[in-house]
Symmetry: C2
Subunit: 194 residues, 2 copies
C-alpha cells in the first residue's frame, strides 16, 4: 500500500505541476526539468510514470477532462425532466469553470491548440455523452430547438469558457446574480419557443 500510495502522490504532483506550468508559460516554455522541480522529483523519475513529454501532457488532459465530466454530471439523474436536467448540468459546469479555474484554463488551452494528440482528444470528448443524450431527448419532446448539438453547445455552454478566461484575467467578475442571468441566457438560447 505504502508503495502504491507514494506512486500516486508523485504522479499527481507531476500532473499538477504540468497544469500549472502550461497554464502560466505555455507548452513551449515548460521544460521537463521545471516540471520535475515543481513536483519535487528528478527529471528521470518522470519517465517512470510517463513515456515522454507528449504522453505526460496527453494523460494530464485526459485526467482533467475526466474530472471535469465527473463533476459535471454528479448531481444529474437521467430521470429528470429536460429543463431540470439541463439546469443541473449547466450549473455544475459553471461551478467547475469558475471555481476550478486552473483545471478549466488548462482544458481551454488544450482545446484550442494542437498540443494534444487526436486519440486523446477523442478519449476526452466521450464523457460528454449524457448531455448530448439529454438534448436529443429534448428535441424529441419538442422542448429543445431542433438544431445541431454543436450549435446548442456553442450558445449554451461555450460562453462559460470565455467568461472563465476573463475572470481569470481579472478584468471581470461573475457573481451569483450574473450566474443566474447567464443561465437564463443559456436556457433561452436553446429552448424551443414554438
Amino acid at each position: 500500500m505504502a508503495k502504491l500510495q507514494k506512486s500516486i502522490d508523485k504522479r499527481n504532483a507531476l500532473i499538477k505541476a504540468t497544469i500549472e506550468l502550461v497554464n502560466n508559460n505555455g507548452f513551449h516554455a515548460t521544460p521537463m526539468s521545471k516540471i520535475a522541480k515543481m513536483a519535487n522529483v528528478s527529471p528521470a523519475t518522470i519517465y517512470l510514470y510517463f513515456e515522454n513529454k507528449q504522453d505526460l501532457v496527453n494523460k494530464t488532459y485526459i485526467e482533467v477532462k475526466a474530472q471535469y465530466t465527473a463533476f459535471t454530471f454528479a448531481d444529474y439523474d437521467v430521470g429528470m425532466s429536460v429543463e431540470e436536467g439541463f439546469e443541473t448540468i449547466w450549473k455544475r459546469i459553471a461551478q467547475f469553470k469558475l471555481n476550478e479555474s486552473e483545471n478549466a484554463m488548462f482544458l481551454a488551452q488544450c482545446d484550442n491548440t494542437p498540443i494534444i494528440d487526436e486519440p486523446s482528444l477523442q478519449e476526452g470528448i466521450k464523457h460528454l455523452q449524457p448531455l448530448l443524450d439529454l438534448w436529443d431527448r429534448g428535441k424529441k419532446e419538442g422542448v429543445i430547438k431542433p438544431v445541431s448539438n454543436y450549435i446548442l453547445y456553442a450558445y449554451s455552454i461555450n460562453p462559460l469558457s470565455f467568461l472563465m478566461v476573463n475572470q481569470k484575467r481579472g478584468v471581470f467578475q461573475l457573481d451569483k446574480t450574473q450566474i443566474e442571468e447567464a443561465y437564463q441566457s443559456a436556457w433561452s438560447s436553446i429552448k424551443n419557443n414554438k
Copy 2:
C-alpha cells in the same frame, strides 16, 4: 518602389508561414528554420524583419487582429440603429470566422494561450471599441440588456469561435440557414425583453 515592394512580400510570406505552421503544429513545434523554409527565405533573413521569434509571433498576432477588426467594421456605420448595427457587425464577424478560418484559428489559439505578450494583447483588443460603444448606446436606449459587455460578448460573439473551430475540424458544417439561426440566437440573447 521595387525594393519596398519586395520587402513587404517577404514580410507577408513570413507572417503567412507563421500562421500556417502555428495552426498546424502549435507554437512549440514551429522552429524558425521551418518558417524560413515555408517562406522561401533563409533563417537569417527573418531577423532583418523581426527582432526574434517572440517579436515575430507578436507582430503576426497584431496584424491578423487588425485585419479581423477592419473586416468586421467595414459595412458598419455609426448612424445605424442598434439592431441594424449589431446585425451588420455580427454577420461580418461570422463571415470572417467561417471564410478566413486560418486567420481566425490563429487568433483563437493566441487568445487561449500565453504565447502572446501582454502589450500585444492590449494592442490587439483596442480595435473592438466600436462594438462596445454600440452596446453602451443600446443599453441607454433600453434595446440591449443592461449587463456587462463581457456577458454580451460571451453569448453573442464568442459562440462563433466554437463553431469555427469545429467547422475547421470537419465535424460540422454551417450553411446559410444555420447562420441565420445562429444570428437569431445571438440577437435574442442580448436584446432587452422588457
